[in-house]
């Protein structure tokens, strides 16, 4: 077991875990943050995506020990005082979420995209989200939601 310290959604946290335990499992099992989902478990679907030091990563591919000292943001940390984040609001209004499994990863990928490209082109949206698979929406409503979020200045 290793003692691992990191910041999760602005809270300092210390856990005891096997160093190779996947960050995804630490989030879900140790910290009960079940927003990140397991889809493929091999880095292709993005359902487990979180932000680590501001960068989009797939938490199923991160050994817990490599999160030592990191700042991690999950979907649970995005809303402010139980008010939806503007990106979440746009997904809601545009029908960008259906079954919801991919949605936390989609929203964090959108957050990362809008950080880098506050007014993305459709191509930049497609590339920024190409690691996030959705089997419900057909993507068009997600793209619309992202365009609305960009329009609303969600990147801050």
């Amino acid at each position: 077991m290793s003692t691992i310290q990191f910041t999760i959604n602005n809270h300092q946290t210390i856990i005891e875990a096997p160093p190779m335990k996947r960050l995804l499992d630490v989030l879900r099992e140790d910290l009960h943050l079940t927003g990140a989902k397991e889809g493929c478990g091999e880095g292709e679907c993005g359902a487990c995506a979180v932000l680590m030091n501001g960068e989009l990563v797939n938490s199923c591919l991160i050994p817990a020990l490599q999160a030592e000292g990191a700042r991690i943001t999950t979907i649970e940390g995005l809303s402010i005082n139980e008010t939806l984040h503007p990106i979440q609001q746009c997904f809601l209004e545009e029908g960008g979420a259906q079954c919801g499994i991919c949605t936390p990863g989609m929203i964090l990928a959108t957050h990362h995209l809008l950080d880098k490209h506050p007014q993305p082109t459709l191509l930049q949206i497609q590339e920024g989200l190409n690691g996030n698979l959705c089997r419900c929406t057909g993507y068009m409503r997600i793209f619309n939601a992202i365009q609305q979020a960009a329009h609303a200045g969600a990147a801050k």
Binding site: M20, R22, E42, G43, Q66, E127, N130, G131
Partner: protein
Amino acid sequence: MRSNVANYELIAPGSLDAVLQILASSPDRYTPIAGGTELMVALGAGRLQAKKLISLWNLEELRFIDATPDALIIGSGATFSDIRKHPVIAAEFSILAQAASWTGSIANQNRGTLGGNIVNASPAADTPPVLLAYDAEVTLISARGSRTLPYRKFHRAYKETALEPDELLHSITISRNLYGYKSYIRKVGTRNAQAISKVALAALAQMNDGRIEDIRLGAASLREYPTRLIAAEQSLAGQTITSLTIAAARAAVLTEARPIDDIRSTAKYRATVAANLLEEFLHALR
């Protein structure tokens, strides 16, 4: 079947020197892990053989990109995102930037490293054909010192490289003296995003008075490791580009390619498409 993570050890000594000391002196064999985009997949699938791992992630001694007047030096720990962001790579090494951009998704590019892409030694990896076309050099480091060799001599057999057990890939060096070279890259996969290539070709050529003065062809998924297409290069050196020299180059590719049938494609498709890609490049050189 998921692996039992309690059976795995991971240490993160935090500096390159400390890692090299452990690789040199520990009686246990440690397997380096950087961004985890390969080994963590194996762990999740229950097929990660190595039980003792040593973390290279974010070691500052390996995560760098330096441009000198003559060369570009990329630390093995530089991520695909680092590569895509670098202004000299964007301006002068467009096929490297292109290959980095189609290696996995943004989340994978934020974690996957150039060194990992090379050392993992997959025949289908995205950046090795580019590094072969640029005729890059690789520098290997250990507690005993460092050595540099041409990247084309790094791969020896399927998943077998020049690395000794106590060595790490330190950096990749590419000459910036590419004035007048034309470059080409194309990856053929099932879809644009995320797909592992069925076949890929990266190429560089220098023309002089209508003749090919220098040509270098790097290919993925045509042999058991990333490979230069030496026979095709030799058939083209000094030639003008005509239907005859194109046919000879296509034939040369078919003699040296040893593709396989697997879940992603067939040997026949791979060999034919590789010849088509080369022909496309040659047409563009005319």
